[in-house]
């Protein structure tokens, strides 16, 4: 299943404590160059709980525990964790899992916290703690019954999986600067077009803005290729891909300021005034950054 749109990486448990498991995925060379990571799905498989152990809990119905998945990142020498998902899971209940026996932890946008990041050398995605559900009745030790299947489990099934869905930016990305010789139409692929802003021609700027007389602002025009229909259905979390400014630069200006009957020049920096780069991005999602091999 290592295709353009679907990559799967098996993980391994590094450390397992009573309530916390540290899980690492080797990400090197996993993502193709010039591609965009649009979704990551973590699959954890829960080992069956023996009926006898469930009976010992002496509680009606299937007990529930809270499973929390956190992403552990090393940055500037310190560890930082980001919450990916936290949800209640039934222990021993037959309806707890999808038909494949897995829970898709992390909806698209949250999973996209790692979107577009270069797969670093030691940047494992880490399922975190398994703890008691605070909403559950107090005398519960159900969390001790939760066991995740690990690598090397019986019949090789059930090891944690990280499913990565990517788009090739050669087809789904922007094309850089527009060709000035070719008029922009609806069919034009997303590109950056020159747009000159004439400050001298603006009435409000007269006698106030001293520098610059105008500037090249650029704008993002054209359309973006949408993922194939089956993929769009599979990824309900993101909207259509649109051509947007992904990197911008500030614009310094010199204006005249009147103080106490005198006029003095002042420099002001206006953020996000010039488009540096256009990209195709889904509405509401972080603007992707190109991945390195």
């Amino acid at each position: 299943r290592f295709s353009q749109h679907f990559r799967e990486v098996a993980g391994r448990f590094l450390v397992s404590e009573a309530n916390t498991h540290l899980l690492a995925f080797g990400m090197e060379q996993r993502l193709p160059p010039n591609s965009e990571l649009v979704q990551a799905v973590l699959r954890l498989f829960q080992e069956p709980v023996p009926e006898a152990a469930l009976r010992r809990l002496r509680r009606p119905g299937a007990p529930r525990v809270r499973v929390t998945v956190e992403w552990l990142r090393e940055r500037e020498g310190s560890n930082r964790t980001s919450l990916i998902d936290s949800r209640c899971v039934s222990v021993g209940g037959r309806s707890r899992c999808t038909r494949e026996g897995s829970e898709e932890l992390g909806e698209g946008r949250r999973a996209g916290q790692g979107r577009g990041r270069s797969p670093g050398r030691s940047r494992p995605l880490t399922p975190g703690s398994v703890s008691r559900d605070p909403l559950a009745p107090p005398p519960s030790s159900a969390h001790r019954l939760v066991r995740f299947a690990s690598q090397g489990a019986r019949s090789g099934q059930g090891e944690p999986q990280l499913e990565l869905r990517t788009l090739d930016l050669k087809d789904y990305g922007a094309q850089g600067d527009c060709d000035p010789e070719v008029p922009v139409t609806e069919a034009t692929r997303c590109c950056r077009q020159e747009m000159y802003i004439d400050l001298q021609g603006m009435k409000w700027a007269e006698n106030w803005v001293l520098e610059p007389p105008g500037f090249l602002a650029y704008e993002c025009v054209g359309s973006c290729q949408q993922p194939p229909e089956p993929l769009s259905i599979k990824w309900p979390y993101v909207g259509p891909r649109q051509c947007v400014a992904s990197e911008t630069a500030s614009l310094p200006v010199i204006v005249g300021i009147k103080e106490g009957g005198r006029t003095r020049p002042q420099v002001v920096s206006l953020p996000n005034m010039r488009v540096q780069k256009c990209s195709c991005a889904s509405d509401g999602a972080p603007v992707p950054r190109r991945l390195e091999p």
Binding site: M195, I197, L199, M202, W204, A205, N207, W208, V209, L210, E211, A217, E219, V244, A245, S246, E247, T248, A249, S250, L251, P252, V253, I254, V255, G256, I257, K258, T263, R264, P265, Q266, V267, V268, S269, L270, P271, N272, M273, R274, Q276, K277, S279, A281, P286, V287, R289
Partner: protein, 55 residues
């Protein structure tokens, strides 16, 4: 990007409600000192090098 957005950003940066009205006489006496121009050029060069991510 239009004139209104630039004006809005400028007013926000200067914490003004509306653009000041300066007449030609104000400008005739105005000389941009070297240190102000140097600051402007430095920001211009920096903005070419440093980019900020979009939303």
């Amino acid at each position: 990007l239009g004139g209104e957005q630039i004006l809005g950003s400028l007013l926000q940066q200067l914490q003004l409600h509306q653009p000041p009205v300066l007449d030609q006489a104000d400008l005739e006496q105005l000389v941009v000192p070297a240190h102000v121009r140097a600051q402007y050029v430095a920001l211009l060069q920096h903005s070419h090098g440093a980019r900020s991510r979009g939303r």
